[in-house]
C-alpha cells in the first residue's frame, strides 16, 4: 500500500506547476499530497513492524527499484493529462474498494489507516470519475485521447487483483482481503463510468504483472533517480 501511494503521489506531483488549468493543477497537487500523507502512515507502520530502526523516510528514499512493491500502473510516466486522469480513475476505484475492505482488518493499525484514508480516496474517485466522463464524452480530440489512454493502461489494471502466497497468508489472517475479491466492486465502479464516458473497454484479459514481486518497468528507476537524488547525494540531509 505504501509503495503504491508513494509512487503515484510522486508521479502526480510532477504535474505541479504544469497542469492544463489552475484548478486542475491544484487538484492534482492536493491528491498527491493526500497520497504522500497516507504513505507516511503505511511506511510508518512498515518500519514499526520491521523493527530494524529504519524510518519511513529511509524506506522511501534509500531502497532501490527491486525493493519496491507498488503495482506497475502507478509507475508509468504521466503521459498527457487525459492519461494521468485515466490512470487515477482506474487506481481510485481499486483504492476505495481496497480501503473499504481494510477498514475491517483484523490488525487495528491497518484498519485505522484505512478508516482515515478512505475519506480522502472518496474525493479522489469523485474527481477522477467526473473528469473521465467529461473528457471521454467531450470533444472528438478529448475522446480520442481518453480512449488511447484506456487502451494503454487497461492491461496494467489486472495486477490489482493478482494474489500471491503472501496475500493468501494475509487473507487467511483477516489482515487484508484476497486481491481477487475486489474485482467485482472495481468493475461495478469502473464499467458504468466508462460507458457513460462513451469509451470502449479493451478486449482481452492479459494483465501486466511483476511490480508486487519487485520486477518493475524501466520507468521506476528513472523516477527514483529524481525522487531519491537528495538523500543519495547528501546522505542524512534534513531541513
Amino acid at each position: 500500500m505504501g509503495d503504491t501511494t508513494l509512487v503515484l503521489g510522486h508521479r502526480l506531483s510532477e504535474w505541479c506547476g504544469h497542469g492544463p488549468v489552475l484548478e486542475e493543477d491544484i487538484g492534482v497537487a492536493n491528491i498527491a499530497l493526500d497520497l504522500i500523507g497516507q504513505t507516511q502512515f503505511w511506511l510508518g507502520l512498515a518500519r514499526e513492524i520491521e523493527g530494524r530502526g529504519r524510518s519511513a523516510d529511509d524506506l522511501a528514499f534509500l531502497r532501490d527499484v527491486w525493493d519496491f512493491r507498488n503495482v506497475l500502473l502507478v509507475e508509468l510516466p504521466n503521459g498527457d493529462f487525459g492519461q494521468t486522469i485515466m490512470r487515477q480513475f482506474l487506481f481510485d476505484a481499486w483504492h476505495v474498494a481496497m480501503l473499504r475492505a481494510l477498514t475491517s482488518s483484523s490488525e487495528p493499525r491497518v484498519a485505522e489507516i484505512a478508516v482515515k484514508a478512505i475519506k480522502e480516496a472518496h474525493y479522489h474517485l469523485e474527481k477522477s470519475a467526473d473528469l473521465v466522463v467529461r473528457l471521454g464524452d467531450g470533444t472528438e480530440e478529448s475522446h480520442r485521447r481518453m480512449q488511447a489512454a484506456l487502451d494503454i493502461l487497461w492491461p496494467y489494471a489486472g495486477e490489482f487483483f493478482l494474489g500471491d502466497a503472501t496475500d493468501a497468508v494475509l487473507a487467511e489472517a483477516g489482515i487484508a482481503p484476497d486481491p481477487a475479491s475486489l474485482r467485482s466492486a472495481w468493475d461495478a465502479t469502473v464499467l458504468p463510468v466508462l460507458a457513460e464516458a462513451t469509451l470502449a473497454v479493451p478486449a482481452g484479459t492479459f494483465a501486466q504483472k511483476g511490480g508486487r514481486r519487485g520486477i518493475h518497468t524501466e520507468h521506476l528507476g528513472r523516477m527514483l533517480a529524481e525522487m531519491q537524488f537528495l538523500q543519495r547525494a547528501y546522505p542524512g540531509a534534513t531541513w
Binding site: 484548478e23 486542475e24 491544484i26 487538484g27 492536493n30 491528491i31 498527491a32 499530497l33 493526500d34 497520497l35 504522500i36 500523507g37 497516507q38 507516511q40 502512515f41 476505495v96 473499504r100 485505522e112 489507516i113 478508516v115 482515515k116 484514508a117 478512505i118 475519506k119 480522502e120 472518496h122 474525493y123 474517485l125 469523485e126 474527481k127 470519475a129 467526473d130 465502479t189
Partner: protein, 174 residues
C-alpha cells in the same frame, strides 16, 4: 512553579485555544478539534493530536506551535503523540469557530456532507441536484457554485458566488 503543581488539562486546553492554525489563523487548534487529549504521565505532559488531511503540510508546523506555546507557559517536559482513531471530521469544528471562518471569508463546513462512497448521490448534491446550499460568506447569497473540490489547502474547496461574483473557499467536509 513547583514541580508538583501541575496545570490541569482544562487550563492547558485554554492556553492552546490561543494557538492559531497556521493556514487559517482566525481559528485555533482547539477550535479545529484536532487536540484530542491532554494528560499527565508523571511529570510529562502528553498532547494527543490528530491530523486533518493525511498529507496536510501544516501538521508539523502545528506540532511546533503547540510545543512552543506550552514551553512559553513553563511546561518543558512534553510529548506530542499522533492519533488516527477516531479520524478527524470537519463536523468537530465548533459553532463559534464556524462564525470566525465565515467572517474570514471561508464558508464553514455543512455537516453530514462528507464524501461517503455514495458517489452519484454526492455528485448530485454538490452540483445542485439537491438542496445543499453553501452560502456566500461575503453577501450571504445561496446562489453559489463549485469551481473545484480541491482548493488552496487540503481542507478547502473552491466556490464562487453567482450574485456578487466573488470566488471563495468552502471548508471541505470529511
Amino acid at each position: 512553579m513547583e514541580a508538583h503543581v501541575r496545570p490541569s488539562p482544562d487550563e492547558i486546553r485554554g492556553w492552546l485555544a490561543e494557538v492559531p492554525d497556521p493556514e487559517i489563523p482566525v481559528i485555533s487548534v482547539v477550535d479545529l478539534g484536532i487536540v484530542r487529549d491532554l494528560a499527565w504521565e508523571g511529570e510529562t505532559l502528553v498532547v494527543t493530536v490528530t491530523p486533518t488531511y493525511s498529507g496536510c503540510p501544516a501538521t508539523a508546523v502545528i506540532n511546533f506551535a503547540i510545543e512552543d506555546a506550552l514551553r512559553a507557559r513553563g511546561i518543558g517536559n512534553l510529548r506530542i503523540e499522533r492519533s488516527l482513531t477516531p479520524p478527524w471530521t470537519s463536523d468537530w469544528i465548533g459553532d463559534a469557530a464556524r462564525e470566525k471562518l465565515r467572517a474570514y471569508g471561508i464558508a464553514p463546513p455543512i455537516d453530514g456532507t462528507a464524501a461517503d462512497g455514495q458517489l452519484l448521490g454526492r455528485i448530485g448534491r454538490l452540483t445542485g441536484g439537491s438542496n445543499l446550499a453553501v452560502a456566500c460568506p461575503r453577501c450571504g447569497s445561496n446562489r453559489t457554485e463549485r469551481v473545484s473540490q480541491f482548493g488552496s489547502t487540503p481542507c478547502k474547496a473552491s466556490w464562487r458566488c453567482t450574485d456578487c461574483l466573488e470566488p471563495f473557499d468552502y471548508f471541505k467536509c470529511i
